[in-house]
């Protein structure tokens, strides 16, 4: 299980390929990649702030919880902070499991927890100012299914 919190860009293709190649015995690999949407050209950049120390700790706790709930062979979380341009990859989750239901469920679980329980805050920088992204009720609601 690897957790990387970094400002550097990452290559989702290379990460996905390396993850699948290392997942010996897995029949199913699921990846999720979050990209900066350009909101129809209105977004100049996205700035992501995080809480160094707590971020890694919180993500490791989620990944460990996922490993206990589902039969996973491996899991990967990469999450960037700093300034990102539209189209750039913000983060990525990958899960490997013998069967597809476990890989899908664990990836969705990790995403739901990352959204609302990992200490990241997004700020959208537009032509006419900057605004912190508000947390969505639906994201909080998504946690209740687990």
């Amino acid at each position: 299980m690897r957790v990387a919190v970094q400002s550097a860009a990452f290559d989702l293709g290379a990460e996905a390929a390396a993850f699948a190649a290392a997942a010996g015995g897995a029949g199913a690999v699921v990846t999720f990649t979050g990209l900066v949407r350009d909101n129809g050209g209105a977004l100049a950049a996205m700035e992501i702030e995080h809480y160094p120390g707590m971020t890694e700790r919180a993500i490791r706790a989620m990944a460990s919880e996922a490993s206990q709930r589902w039969a996973l062979v491996d899991a990967l979380v990469i999450h960037r902070f700093g300034r990102l341009a539209p189209g750039e990859a913000i983060m990525m989750v990958a899960t490997a499991a013998p069967h597809r239901a476990d890989a899908f469920d664990a990836a969705e679980f990790l995403m739901d927890y990352l959204k609302s329980r990992a200490p990241f805050w997004k700020k959208e920088i537009g032509a006419d100012g900057a605004e912190w992204v508000a947390a969505k009720d639906e994201d909080e609601a998504a946690l209740r299914r687990w």
């Binding site: 983060m91 805050w121 947390a135």
Partner: protein, 82 residues
Amino acid sequence: MIDVLYFAWVRERIGLPRERIETAAPTVAALVEELKAREERYALAFADLASLRVALDQELSSFDAPLAGVREVAFFPPMTGG
């Protein structure tokens, strides 16, 4: 002495990312009251606790949690990761 950290718009409203505070506040809520009494910018940042979250020593906690033994308190809005 306790380290107090602020993130996102809480940091922006208060105007600094962290500070060391001498306090005898028994709970997070009591610490918040002390801070609000200090200056307008703290009162503004802590005006609506329902829109804030708190972590004690890097674990999510609640405003009625005791502060005894805690070294680091962080205040921030609901997270928006992923």
